[in-house]
Each structure stands twice: as structure tokens, then as C-alpha cells.
């Protein structure tokens, strides 16, 4: 490890009077995990890592050896901007290693590192900018429908004041943590908000999304509000997506840009898109990993349903936004199916792997689908060669299971654990008898 970086971290802890250092990492399902150490232990942790029992973490458990090593990434050391300034806390993201020092195959951050390195070996850096959507609710009660903030009654102040000030406070906290915000606004659905993050390299952005979800929830909790990234919390209104704007850079140059093309897209961009489209169904279980995710991916709510692309058609899976003033740096593609409940490390890994496969194999980009696909019949769609995104977690898992691409991108350990875990989730859901069925069948049948 870089000596100067380590000194920087150790000095900062001392000078800022940091009392507690939180070591952050992520389990396979995308939950943020943390354990705290005292500043006295930090030097040792930076040098040798901290050993812990991996079997307590979802997706980390193995048959024989269960101990793993968390090694802090000093680049990610930040003093947390909340809490008591007199006894400050800091966080640092960790990479998980086996005790022999090799990357631990169950660590999503290591998986993303490996996929980014494969792109880098071809001279390409992966940049991502996500649009994060979420809802503010009253604190949820078990068995009760979620209560949006905008429907007054819960708060004395008008709800929009609360939500507005929450969003402002959230953005201030994000910026203080070095997560710049591009736009933010109230979304279409009641109590739904969107905060768009400014592009960053894939690893930093996955870290930022983990921080983002925590900050949004923490800030909301200070006002007794529950923030949720559930993909489709309310029936009949839009769900929460996480559209991701993707680009590849080759040094200074945006590898997606070409001045000679009608769409300003380079051959690399088109092959990357073709890779995403061809493997979209295989990677959907990762980008949309809950039973509930598939209730968002239905017609009529600006969520994609068909595997297609277009410049300005929001019903397709990939949109090619037209950059302001034709700025070459801003040329990018927008992949619209992921939701904010995904594991960002794994989602970016499979997106990148699918796109890179398109580049390596020189895939041909299908024609643009600029019609409103929701108005076409199934027969017309088949004629156009346009498939659907899997319509349930069960379907998505079935397609993923046969995908050599996803297996390679995730590695055997996570691939198999994920399938096992999610099949159980799907089975539990299938056995559930819902109020939909009671209402529809109990009396009539």
C-alpha cells in the first residue's frame, strides 16, 4: 500500500479527533455491512487487514475456511459529516481477501474490480452516472400499506416542506462526502424523489451508491421519515428505477463518441449496446433482484418492458440521450431497467461484461425501435425481433442460470450462491396467497 496514503489517513484520524473508524463492505445482496474499530487499531488494519468470520455475512459463507480479511481502501477514507463533531466518526470501504491475501471470490467489490480491470486491459475506463429514485413514507407498520408523505395528516407542517428540506439536507450531506449531485427533483408519483449523481468511474460510483442509500435513509430518519428504495412500493403509480448512464473512456477521449455518425455513436458504442441488448435477459436477475422489481417493469409507467433501443423513446431498454450542444464528452447511453434495490457492484459488473462482450465479438447493433412499442401487438414485436425483459424473478433466474457470461462476470461462488438464495425467495413468493387472489376468487369460485 501507498505509504503517503496511509500516513494521510492516520494523520487525519489524529488531527480530527476521530473516535471510531467504520470499516464498510457489501454483502452479495447489496446490503451495507460495517464493523467499527478504534483509531488505535487502524494502523494495523491498514497494514494487515482485519480478520473476521465471513459465515455471518450473506453470500460469504463457504464450506471449509470461513475467516476472511477486510483490508481498508485508504482512497475511500472519509470523516462522516453527521454525528457529534467532538467525537467524529470516519468510514473506509474495504476489499475482502482470503487469509492468503488473494481476492475473496464472495466480495462484490472485488468482482467489480476484476471486471473493471478486464476493460482497462483494453485501455477502457468505465464511467457511470445513476439517476436514483426513492420514496418518502411514514414509518412503515407491518401489514399496512405504505403511507406517502404528500398525503397530509402525518405531519403538522405541509408535507412538501418536509420533503423539500429533507432533499436539500440530503444533497448537502452527499456533497460534503464528495458525491456531487447533478439534478434533483420531485418525481411524478406522490412522495417520490429523484437525485441524479454526477458521473464517476465504476468502482467509485458503486461505493457512492452504497453511501447514497445510507445518507438518504439517515437524513430521513432524523425527521422520523422512512426513505425506501423498494422498486414498486405503490400500486398504480410509477416505481423507483435506477437508470444508469454509461460511457467508456480511452484516456482523454470518449470512446462512445464519433463525429461521423448520424447518432454521434462510435462503432465501440454500438457494439457495447449490442452486447447489452443481446445479454439483457441474462443479466436482469442481477439488475432487478427482488420479486417486487418485476412489478415496476410493466407497461404504462415509463419503465422499460422491451429489449430495444432508441434515441428518444422512453419505452425501450436503452435510450441514447442527445448531449447538450453535441458535447463529445457527454455522449453516453442510458440503460433503464435497473432499480435502486440492486447490488451496484454486481449490476455494474454484469452491465460492463455484457457490453464488453459485444465489443470483443463485434456484435451488430439491431435497428432503432422508435415506435411506441406498447402499442404494438405481440406478432408485430416478433416480426421486429424484439424480445421482452423477463417478467418475473423466476423467469429472470432461469435465463441467468444458463448464462455463461453472467457466470464468468460474477465468478462461480457468487453466481451459485445468488441463484440458490434467489430461488428460495421466488419459491417463498410463489407459495404466498395474496389479497389479489382473495378478492378475485374467494367469492366467485
Amino acid at each position: 500500500m501507498n505509504e503517503a496514503q496511509r500516513n494521510y489517513v492516520l494523520h487525519t484520524v489524529e488531527e480530527r479527533g476521530v473516535r471510531l473508524v467504520r470499516l464498510w463492505f457489501t454483502d452479495v445482496l447489496g446490503n451495507l455491512k460495517s464493523f467499527a474499530i478504534s483509531p488505535a487499531e487502524l494502523e494495523n488494519a491498514l497494514e494487515d487487514g482485519m480478520t473476521f468470520d465471513g459465515s455471518s455475512i450473506d453470500g460469504f459463507s463457504r464450506v471449509q475456511e470461513s475467516d476472511v480479511l477486510a483490508i481498508p481502501d485508504p482512497n475511500t477514507f472519509e470523516v462522516l459529516p453527521w454525528g457529534d463533531p467532538k467525537s467524529a466518526e470516519a468510514r473506509v470501504f474495504c476489499d475482502i481477501h482470503n487469509l492468503d491475501g488473494t481476492p475473496f471470490e464472495g466480495d462484490p467489490r472485488q468482482v467489480l474490480r476484476r471486471n473493471l480491470a478486464a476493460a482497462r486491459a483494453l485501455g477502457l475506463t468505465f464511467f457511470v452516472a445513476p439517476d436514483m429514485e426513492f420514496f418518502y413514507f411514514a414509518p412503515p407498520q407491518r401489514g399496512q400499506a405504505p403511507e406517502p408523505l404528500d398525503e397530509a395528516g402525518f405531519f403538522d407542517l405541509t408535507a412538501s416542506d418536509i420533503a423539500g428540506s429533507l432533499r436539500k439536507q440530503t444533497i448537502r450531506t452527499l456533497e460534503a462526502m464528495g458525491i456531487p449531485v447533478e439534478y434533483s427533483f420531485h418525481e411524478d408519483a406522490p412522495s417520490q424523489h429523484e437525485i441524479d449523481l454526477r458521473h464517476n468511474d465504476g468502482l467509485s460510483m458503486a461505493d457512492s451508491i452504497m453511501t447514497f442509500r445510507l445518507v438518504v435513509k439517515e437524513v430521513a430518519a432524523t425527521q422520523g421519515v422512512h426513505a425506501s428504495f423498494m422498486p414498486k412500493p405503490l400500486e398504480g403509480v410509477q416505481g423507483s428505477g435506477m437508470h444508469v448512464h454509461l460511457s467508456l473512456f480511452s484516456g482523454e477521449e470518449n470512446a462512445f463518441y464519433s463525429p461521423d455518425d448520424a447518432y454521434n455513436l462510435s462503432p465501440i458504442a454500438k457494439q457495447f449496446m449490442a452486447g447489452l441488448l443481446r445479454h439483457a435477459a441474462e443479466i436482469t436477475a442481477i439488475t432487478n433482484q427482488t420479486v417486487n422489481s418485476y412489478k415496476r417493469l410493466v407497461p404504462g409507467f415509463e419503465a422499460p418492458v422491451h429489449i430495444s433501443w432508441a434515441r428518444n423513446n422512453r419505452s425501450g431498454l436503452i435510450r441514447v440521450p442527445i448531449p447538450k450542444k453535441g458535447n463529445p464528452m457527454a455522449t453516453r447511453i442510458e440503460y433503464r431497467s435497473p432499480d435502486p434495490a440492486c447490488n451496484p457492484y454486481l449490476a455494474f459488473s454484469v452491465l460492463l461484461a455484457a457490453g464488453m462482450r459485444g465489443i470483443r465479438e463485434g456484435y451488430e447493433l439491431p435497428v432503432e425501435a422508435d415506435a411506441n412499442l406498447f402499442q404494438l401487438t405481440d406478432a408485430q414485436l416478433i416480426e421486429l425481433g424484439i424480445d421482452q425483459i423477463p417478467t418475473s424473478l423466476g423467469d429472470a433466474l432461469k435465463v441467468m442460470e444458463g448464462s455463461e457470461l453472467v457466470k464468468e462476470a460474477l465468478g462461480d461462488h457468487i453466481f451459485e450462491w445468488f441463484l440458490r438464495n434467489k430461488r428460495n425467495e421466488w419459491r417463498a413468493y410463489k407459495a404466498h396467497v395474496s389479497s389479489f387472489e382473495h378478492d378475485r376468487y374467494l367469492r366467485s369460485l
Binding site: 489517513v9 482512497n75 475506463t125 464511467f127 456533497e175 464528495g178 456531487p180 454526477r198 468511474d201 482523454e252
Partner: protein, 229 residues
């Protein structure tokens, strides 16, 4: 050019006459030492500003002294080594024992230039520990930054970038130059990384102070006011 006021330790005692003369003419303050004990006994209150060790007459004594100076709780640095042409092979695997070397017999101008550069790099005299500009203060010694007296919490790379910019106010830097000086060329993110970090720094500086870092259209970035404004 300002001359460092602190005392340099010079080995052996007495030093070669041409070395003593060069140091005197360059305006350096120095004291001859005969070994590690001598260094400890004669250490000025603020510590030594650095050491010049001529290894051509007593190589064994010189290496032993280098090692002793490095092993102290507060190592003596920077350390400039003078070696004869036949001794170049001795430098191998001893990189940790010196900061730079000069071939003896030396050219007085070269020795002086190397020494000044070392002292600048090591924070000895020429480069201040505290960099201040407008409401921003950076303590290079403790790695801490503050704005309006409020601590500014930065990641390592954000701090390095801000330090580089604040040490060179008013100058315009291209992204490539910032990348090569702050990150080093091996960094994979490319010049785009610079933009990302600039944006993050501005976010942390806050609305009131984000103009400290200006974008110079189609060139790069500048910290603070242009000297021509």
C-alpha cells in the same frame, strides 16, 4: 532566492575543503559532524534541516551514519550523499538511506541546485508548512485543510490535488499536467479523473468558496485569481 536558515549536518569532520567552500558561497548554514553521537550532541533545537554526507574518504563510516540518521525517531532528512565514481555500485539496495546523491568531485553549481531542490521537497525552510489563500488554509505537516476556520474533510487524492493547486495559485494547469503531477501517469482513470475530483473538491468547498477553483475553458483549471487579472 531565499536561503534556508536552518543548520545542515556535514560529514566528515572536517569536510572536504571544496564542499565547505560551496556551502559557504551558497549561503547555507552548516556544522561538521564526525558521527551519529556528534549529530545528537550538536542537534539544534528545531532539529537538523538535513545532512550532507561525503562518502569518498570513509565509506564505512558514511554508510553507518546514513543508517543511524534514518533510524532515529525523527529521521534527519533530506540526506544528500557525495560518492566517488568507483562507489556508484554501493548505492544499489541502499535507496532508503539517502534522498539524492552527487558524484564527487562535484560541480559546485550542481551540488547547490540539488541541495536547494531537496530542501524544497523536504519542507526545509523554502516551502512553508502552512499554505494559505483567502479563506483556505492547508497544513502540509498535519495534512489538514480548513476553510473559514472550519475543518475540511478530504480524501487523500482530494487533499493532494487541493495542495498542489493552492501551492501554485494563479497558474493555469491542464488536466494532463495535474494528472501527471498529482496522480502520477500510471493512474488509469485518465484526465476525466481530474474533472471528477475537481467537482468533488468544489462540492466540499461549498457554494461560497467553490469559485476558488476556476475552470479555464478548453484549457484546464486555475486556483485563485489569475496573476494578470
Amino acid at each position: 532566492m531565499t536561503v534556508p536558515a536552518e543548520l545542515l549536518a556535514v560529514f566528515p569532520n572536517p569536510p572536504p575543503p571544496d564542499l565547505a567552500r560551496t556551502l559557504d558561497l551558497g549561503g547555507f548554514r552548516w556544522k561538521a559532524v564526525s558521527g551519529a553521537d556528534d549529530v545528537a550532541r550538536n542537534e539544534p533545537t528545531g532539529g537538523w534541516a538535513g545532512a550532507i554526507i561525503a562518502a569518498d574518504t570513509d565509506p564505512e563510516g558514511a554508510w553507518a551514519l546514513c543508517r543511524a540518521l534514518r533510524k532515529r525517531d525523527v529521521p534527519v532528512a533530506p540526506l544528500l550523499l557525495l560518492v566517488g565514481g568507483g562507489q556508484l555500485g554501493d548505492l544499489a539496495l541502499r535507496d532508503d538511506l539517502f534522498d539524492d546523491f552527487c558524484l564527487s568531485p562535484f560541480h559546485p553549481t550542481e551540488l547547490e541546485a540539488r541541495l536547494r531542490h531537496l530542501l524544497w521537497r523536504g519542507g526545509g525552510g523554502v516551502k512553508p508548512d502552512l499554505v494559505e489563500y483567502s479563506a483556505l488554509a492547508l497544513n502540509v505537516e498535519t495534512y489538514q485543510a480548513s476553510i473559514d476556520g472550519r475543518p475540511l474533510d478530504l480524501t487523500y487524492m482530494e487533499y493532494e490535488l487541493l495542495k498542489f493547486l493552492a501551492q501554485n495559485p494563479g497558474k493555469v494547469f491542464t488536466r494532463e499536467l495535474l494528472l501527471s503531477r498529482v496522480w502520477g501517469y500510471e493512474y488509469y482513470g485518465g484526465a476525466r479523473t481530474v474533472d471528477v475530483h475537481i467537482r468533488r473538491l468544489r462540492a466540499k468547498l461549498g457554494e461560497e468558496h467553490q469559485n476558488l477553483i476556476q475552470t479555464v475553458r478548453s484549457v484546464g483549471y486555475r486556483f485563485g485569481q489569475s496573476r494578470w487579472a
